[in-house]
């Protein structure tokens, strides 16, 4: 089954718009994410009835839910979580799972490029190792420091959203 045009166009427009603002300002505005999220659920409800609304709501919860722990830990911007939830609503369930997982992987590629560009790959991997050891010790002692270096993530959501519309379960 191919992705309908009424899903494809909004996903690309929303994620591309978010990528543009993220690269320019390091922000993904609520003025983009909240309307996109509501429109995604409404569009599915109108086009596919109750089953569509269920698909969009589940997509939003699963995609947003996978991103939420990162925000709770203080490692991820909430703009990205809301963007992922909106894209999850548009692509629906189960495609939202693919959208979120591929976004994470694409984000890793961007993080890798940024780490190399900023000459901090070794330090980042060491920080991850120390964090892993801290988790294995069940949080004994002080939580290890991170570099504090951040990278814009919305482009990864664009990649994840587009992949979810091409690669079907």
């Amino acid at each position: 089954m191919t992705t309908p045009i009424w899903v494809l166009v909004p996903v690309v427009l929303v994620a591309a718009g978010a990528t543009w603002t993220d690269l320019k300002t390091r922000r993904v505005p609520n003025a983009l994410t909240f309307p996109a999220l509501l429109a995604g659920i409404a569009a599915h409800a109108v086009m596919q009835g109750r089953a569509g609304a269920l698909s969009a709501a589940l997509g939003m919860l699963v995609a947003g839910g996978l991103f939420l722990p990162g925000w709770l830990m203080g490692w991820k911007g909430a703009g990205d979580v809301k963007l992922m939830a909106a894209v999850g609503a548009w692509v629906g369930f189960p495609q939202a799972v693919i959208a979120a997982l591929v976004s994470f992987i694409a984000g890793g590629v961007i993080a890798l490029i940024e780490a190399v560009r900023r000459r901090m790959l070794k330090q980042s991997l060491a920080n991850i190792g120390m964090f892993g050891a801290w988790v294995m010790s069940r949080g004994a002692g002080v939580r290890p420091m991170t570099s504090g270096e951040r990278f814009p993530f919305a482009l990864a959501v664009l990649v994840g959203g587009v992949t979810a519309m091409v690669w079907k379960f």
Binding site: K76, G77, A78, I105, A106, G108, T146, E149, F169
Partner: protein
């Protein structure tokens, strides 16, 4: 809890920590491999349960 929700709504940041980006990508790559391989047949079970919910909604 209300503060947490308020902070979440107000926060428009679009940046991730580099360490988190690397770690989350690794975990996601493993999860994707498990979904593709599906050794426990979980994907089929979840899809079956979801399809039942959709059928029930459509039957109403």
């Amino acid at each position: 809890m209300m503060n947490l929700i308020r902070n979440f709504v107000r926060d428009e940041k679009g940046e991730d920590l580099i360490e988190y980006g690397l770690l989350a990508a690794f975990v996601a790559a493993v999860a994707t491999a498990v979904i593709i391989g599906d050794p426990l047949g979980l994907t089929g079970a979840i899809e079956g349960a979801y399809q039942k919910a959709v059928d029930a909604l459509n039957a109403q």
